[in-house]
């Protein structure tokens, strides 16, 4: 177990390093940088001024040096300066994180609470009407663009209740804030719960095909016992992994949902930064997202290792 942990940590570090290189390179594929945009909008190119700004921003250095400076800065917590606002990048990013985090946790919570039980039911009653209905619902959950769902929810609120549930940060009243966040969380969570439900279902079905289920029946165990004592215990293991995969899917949904519901979170900020070619922000945000995904996956792996006796007691 200990060796497993160390191996996973090392792998994680390696992956993060690779991601940082990848992001850095991807953003610089197309020649041209922010100075071009500044001068594009001005209409003319003043070469001397351009070079001056480039020097200030450190854009005249070779790529490798620029990368080095960024990484060194990351280690220190200095993320550089945003091009647009010229404030330290970290000051722009940090305050936007909490609301996104709350939204993400709420959405994940919904998806597990709804997805797992429905997935089990669907598997246990395979091929019945209930199963078909649930499968269709979950498929539609995967088919609806989450931003469209968000728009529809907005429409419904406006039409039936007359008010638009746009986000207002109400510091102090956490309960009210969370309640309001439930609505966009539902929009994001619908897709996630559909995914969790489908994967729980297929995991359960896979487990129910195993030999040891036949053994349990041969012992005379009742259906309930077979499904919940025997099968579910084995089926949840992949579901835990699924939650890790969900972390990645969720972020995509957060990006569009924050845009639709006008939530000043970190995900929406990414889009804004991209539009403005604000590379320091984009770089750091994408890195941040990658770190979150990798760390969540790591935690999920650890949880899985604890739950599965085959890994916990390695001989």
């Amino acid at each position: 177990m200990g060796a497993y942990l160390v191996r996973r940590l090392a792998l994680m570090m390696l992956t993060l390093f690779g991601i940082s290189v990848l992001i850095f390179v991807l953003l610089r594929i197309v020649p041209g940088n922010i100075t071009d945009i500044i001068f594009d909008s001005a209409g003319f190119v003043n070469e001397r001024q351009k070079k001056k700004i480039e020097r200030e921003l450190g854009l005249d250095q070779p790529i490798v040096t620029q990368y080095g400076r960024w990484i060194a800065g990351l280690a220190k917590g200095d993320l550089g300066y945003a091009y647009v606002s010229e404030k330290p990048a970290i000051d722009e990013i940090l305050p936007r994180i909490p609301v996104t985090a709350k939204l993400a946790v709420l959405a994940l919570f919904f998806s597990v609470i709804i997805g797992v039980p429905l997935g089990v039911v669907s598997a246990v009653r395979q091929d019945t009407t209930l199963d078909y209905v649930l499968r269709v619902i979950s498929l539609s959950g995967l088919s609806l663009p989450s931003f469209w769902l968000g728009l529809l929810i907005l429409m419904a609120f406006v039409h039936f209740l007359g008010w638009i549930p746009l986000y207002q940060s109400s510091p102090g009243n956490l309960g009210k804030e969370l309640a309001l966040l439930c609505i966009p969380a539902a929009a994001v969570g619908f897709r996630s719960s559909a995914l969790v439900m489908r994967l729980t279902r297929s995991s359960m079905l896979e487990v129910l095909r195993q030999d040891y289920i036949r053994t349990a029946r041969a012992k005379g165990a009742s259906d309930t016992s077979v499904h919940y004592d025997h099968a579910l215990r084995n089926a949840v293991l992949p579901v835990v992994t699924i939650i890790g995969i969900e972390a990645a899917f969720l972020i995509g949904g957060l990006i569009v949902t924050e845009t639709v519901f006008n939530i000043p979170g970190v995900a929406r900020f990414l889009v804004e930064a991209i539009r403005w070619r604000d590379y320091p922000i984009v770089q750091n945000l994408v890195m941040f997202i990658a770190i979150v995904v990798v760390v969540v996956n790591f935690l999920v792996d650890m949880t899985y290792a604890m739950l599965d006796p085959r890994i916990r007691y390695e001989g």
Binding site: D211, Y212, A218, R233, D308
Partner: protein, 337 residues
């Protein structure tokens, strides 16, 4: 209380598949005495495993179904029972162990828990009492340090020990009949002997009747008193093990016995003449596409017109031995060059 633990009469289990109707078990009848060991042999696809599953009423429906016959366990017919009644009997009065001990044990439950489950379910024991009995059973099947083993998970045990644990699980409630479906096929040869010894010991001490399903004639010779040979879903020969092995009446049985190395047979009193290894030409027919007469006819050197037209009936060819063959007893050797 009848003399017989199990009386099977004209059992028919059919499968409805895309390839057509598969008569996996087609009219099988036999009686199992208390405390007796009966072996059912045949190649894969002959219907022996389906027979075992049918006895436990574990045949998946769809695509399979018991369409006819009766299975009497100490007088009670199992075929018409509803599920709850059958569940009370499974694992309790009739139990089964399977071929692959690794995949047949739940990987996330301790051994002790899995064995105790049967006890709690059928004997209404408390957790503590069941655990005590579990440890006792583990000791009975020859597992060292049973208290420690009970707390362990399947993957922590070796193949042989897992199979012993499976056996302990099956006999925990002292069933009248134990069905062992290829219990040693997945194990090393050295472990095989140990497992067979465990089964034999339990038979002696608990008086359980055992149905041993296998394709390995060596195993049959070692452990069984009575043997049934199955081919294409039907019984083709039945009798006392020594008698059948010494002078088999059905050409298929003859072929089976002649195609194994003589060492094991010589030990249990087979013919002393070493012969060349002979194989049975051809392949087992697809059960959805059986020939009209005797199912073995296409592969049989002695086959004649009547064989291809009519299915031979089971007749007593010698005291205590029945076979289904129009040419049983003819000493013409299997054509071999």
């Amino acid at each position: 209380m009848s003399d017989f633990a199990l009386e099977v009469e004209d059992l028919q289990t059919y499968f409805y598949t895309r390839a057509g109707l598969v008569k996996a078990v087609d009219g099988l009848s036999f009686k199992l005495k208390r405390g007796e060991t009966l072996a059912i042999v045949g190649e894969s696809g002959c219907g022996k495993s389906v027979t075992a599953l049918s006895l436990m009423r574990l045949v998946a429906d769809p695509p399979g179904r018991i369409v006819g016959g009766s299975i009497r366990l100490s007088g009670t017919d199992l075929v018409p029972l509803d599920e709850p009644a059958m569940r009370a009997i499974r694992g309790n009065r009739i139990a089964m162990i399977f071929q692959e001990p690794m995949t047949s044990l739940n990987p996330v439950m301790t051994i002790g828990r899995q064995i105790s489950e049967a006890l709690i379910l059928h004997q209404d024991m408390t957790r503590a009492a069941a655990l005590a009995r579990t440890i006792q059973m583990l000791g009975l099947v020859g597992i060292p340090e049973p208290e420690q083993r009970a707390k362990e998970y399947p993957h922590q045990l070796s193949g042989g020990m897992r199979q012993r644990a499976m056996i302990a699980m099956a006999v925990a409630c002292n069933p009248e009949v134990l069905i062992a479906d290829e219990p040693t096929s997945a194990l090393d040869v050295t472990i095989q002997a140990q497992i067979l010894e465990v089964i034999a010991k339990l038979r002696r001490e608990l008086g359980t009747a055992v149905i041993l399903i296998t394709h390995d004639l060596g195993v049959v010779a070692e452990t069984a008193e009575h043997v049934i040979v199955m081919y294409a879903g039907r019984k083709v020969e039945e009798g006392d093990v020594r008698s059948v092995f010494a002078d088999p009446q059905h050409p298929y049985t003859r072929g089976l016995i002649h195609s194994i190395p003589r060492l094991a047979l010589m030990r249990s009193g087979g013919a002393a003449q070493p012969e060349r290894l002979q194989e049975i030409p051809g392949m087992v027919p697809a059960l959805s596409n059986l020939p009209p007469g005797c199912a073995f006819a296409p592969r049989c050197a002695r086959a004649s017109d009547i064989c291809r037209r009519e299915i031979p009936r089971l007749e007593e060819k010698r005291p205590g031995l029945v076979a289904a063959c129009w040419h049983a007893g003819e000493t013409a050797a299997v054509a071999h060059g």
